[in-house]
């Protein structure tokens, strides 16, 4: 049995506390009137003053202010209000990006786990308890994301512009989409997605623990069936979730492979976290039977899925770039103009770095190497989510400051606390999994 080390618990509490304070500061310092917002921008706006107004209207013309934007005075006031809502959105977006990021890690691990179960993989059963520990965060993480979405639907923030009836009234495209994209149906869908995922996670965990105590393989077979069924459910709901929770912050823009793209991001982050937690537990003397070959396989997945992510990123980008259709390219124009560093930095972190560092077979077996690469990959995929949400919600007013770091610290601390608490609940090695011998002797 694993016991939660005091140092790690203390660390996670400090991270949560510090993150909470940063987030509160972020929320308090957000402006509440147009004058405050203008004053804030005037102070911070030494560097990019000139191009700012242009860029803001260009990249956000699609948010319902576009129609009025061209008229002189009206433009000024609508732009100022737009600025206010961007600055008000910033702490919310920082909260949402971090909450979603850590939630998506456990969802990615759940998908990986279900694939191992459905494929009856022989190498991985030794890691099942680690994966089950990480997916335990699905419950609090999912509820937090749902609460944030609920608060958005209650107009506490302005991240999802289509939730504002005022905006929809002036926007024919959004009126056309209102049958699908309306707050009630949106929340019902979110509840169905989360309900399904959490149900599978809890039920599969129950079967997995029951298998240890039973004297036949019925629980194992049941788990296999449920996992295969879950994967079908997941494939559809994950895609819809990505449209709902991420793509809809840019309600005019759409991309048909967006679901896959988000999936690649969550999958590689999840596998990275499995590798990191496994290496950590091994360094503390647990999981004696996990050998370098298991780490090697996880690192291969990190390498492969990083390239898969890049493939999807580029497939999405190149078609839009080549076709050059105005309503599609605005998405990338906003990112190229205002998000150069995070946008291209993310490509370096998520593609070039893992490609070069994890290419060598021997490096995939060096534990500290996997940890270091994992940290870079996780940061890269945080930036990926950042780049998906921020351009639509805060526009050119982005910055990685207190609220963003606070979000990472708070949810990171909660994540660590939750998964390691879950790991203490059951023996780290499944006893009666029929493939456990194969997994123990797994050798590359």
């Amino acid at each position: 049995m694993y016991t939660f080390s005091n140092k790690l618990r203390l660390g996670s509490f400090i991270a949560m506390g510090l993150g909470f304070i940063f987030l509160v500061i972020g929320f308090i310092s957000a402006p509440s009137t147009v004058e405050e917002a203008k004053a804030m921008v005037a102070v911070h706006d030494d560097g990019h003053g000139g191009g700012h107004a242009e860029a803001a209207t260009e990249s956000h013309g699609d948010q319902g202010h576009g129609a009025e934007a061209s008229h002189g005075e009206e433009h000024d006031s609508s732009h100022d209000e737009h600025l206010l809502s961007q600055l008000k959105n910033r702490p919310w977006s920082a909260l949402y990006v971090a909450a979603f990021f850590f939630f998506m890690i456990s969802l990615g691990v759940l998908a990986f786990y279900a694939i191992q179960r459905a494929a009856q993989a022989g190498w991985s059963p030794l890691l099942f308890r680690v994966m089950e520990g990480i997916t335990a965060y699905l419950v609090p993480g999912g509820i937090i994301v749902f609460v944030i979405l609920l608060l958005s639907a209650m107009h506490m923030n302005h991240m999802f512009v289509w939730m504002d009836p005022e905006v929809v009234a002036h926007d024919e495209l959004l009126q056309g989409k209102a049958g699908y994209l309306n707050p009630t149906f949106f929340l019902i869908r979110a509840a169905i997605f989360l309900g399904g995922w959490i149900f599978y996670r809890q039920y599969s965990r129950k079967l997995s623990l029951a298998q240890d105590e039973s004297d036949d393989n019925t629980n194992f077979v049941k788990n296999f069936r449920w996992s295969a069924g879950f994967l079908v459910f997941y494939l559809v709901t994950e895609s819809m979730m990505s449209w709902d929770w991420i793509m809809s912050v840019d309600p005019h823009w759409f991309s048909t492979l967006f679901g896959w793209y988000v999936f690649a991001s969550m999958f590689v982050s999840g596998i990275t976290v499995i590798a990191m937690v496994t290496v950590y537990l091994k360094s503390k003397g647990y999981l004696e039977d996990v050998n370098d070959s298991h780490i090697h396989d996880l690192a291969k997945f990190m390498f492969g899925i990083s390239i898969f992510w890049t493939y999807l990123w580029f497939a999405q980008f190149m078609l839009i770039w080549y076709a050059n259709i105005p309503e599609e390219v605005t998405y990338y124009v906003a990112r190229f103009q205002d998000y150069k560093l995070p946008f291209f930095g993310m490509l370096a972190l998520n593609f070039v770095f893992p490609l070069l560092v994890l290419m060598n077979s021997d490096y995939k077996r060096i534990n500290w190497f996997v940890i270091m690469t994992g940290i870079v990959v996780l940061f890269g995929h945080y930036l990926d989510i950042f780049n998906m949400i921020m351009p639509a919600t805060v526009g050119d007013q982005w910055f990685i400051g207190l609220p963003e770091i606070g979000g990472i610290l708070f949810f990171g601390g909660l994540f660590v606390y939750w998964i390691f608490t879950a790991l203490t609940k059951a023996p780290l090695q499944p006893k009666r999994n029929p493939f456990i011998e194969e997994s123990r002797h797994f050798h590359y």
Partner: protein, 175 residues
């Protein structure tokens, strides 16, 4: 010069793996093992040095990438610039996204083909070459281990029978 070798045939890869380990533990030098399919971990059991083909593959990939860049730059930018879809070909960098698929494909193409050719050359395989494997059954379902003899015929034969060989024979080998 012809040298005397002893050949042992096995009909199971697990038995072969154990035999290889045992023979090596007794400090006999295994000259070659012929198998109908790649046996996982056999190279390590035989104590062969790691393959360097991965390094050549990386270098060939870099070569392919360079060829693609130079080629596309000449064809699409220098020699015959065109205006495709409202994107005039003025500089390589501006048109780079359109060239990425070609860069990728040529990287893979060069790495794969040159790696196979390197492997054939290094293994001394070329068209019309006489097959090296001493027994036809190694292309079907048998595994053959070959050990050089130094006046220790009986001792080795006994050891090989012990390891589960289905057949042991001594032959002259041209080298």
């Amino acid at each position: 010069m012809a040298s005397k070798v002893i050949q042992a045939l096995y009909n199971d890869d697990d038995v072969l793996m154990h035999a290889v380990k045992k023979v090596r533990a007794e400090h006999h030098h295994i000259e070659e093992v012929y198998t109908p399919f790649p046996v996982h971990g056999l190279d390590k059991a035989m104590g062969l040095a790691d393959t360097r083909i991965a390094i050549t593959s990386f270098l060939y990939g870099c070569l392919g990438l360079t060829v693609a860049i130079v080629m596309m730059n000449f064809i699409m930018i220098e020699d015959w610039p065109q205006d495709i879809g409202g994107k005039p070909s003025f500089t390589y960098l501006e048109n780079m996204p359109a060239f990425v698929p070609i860069m990728f494909e040529l990287t893979v193409f060069f790495a794969a083909h040159l790696m196979v050719i390197t492997f054939y050359l290094r293994s001394r395989m070329w068209p019309f070459k006489k097959a090296e494997n001493p027994d036809k059954r190694t292309t079907d379902d048998h595994f053959l281990m070959e050990i050089g003899l130094h006046d220790n015929e009986n001792e080795l034969a006994e050891l090989l029978w012990e390891t589960g060989a289905v057949e042991v024979k001594v032959t002259e080998k041209e080298s």
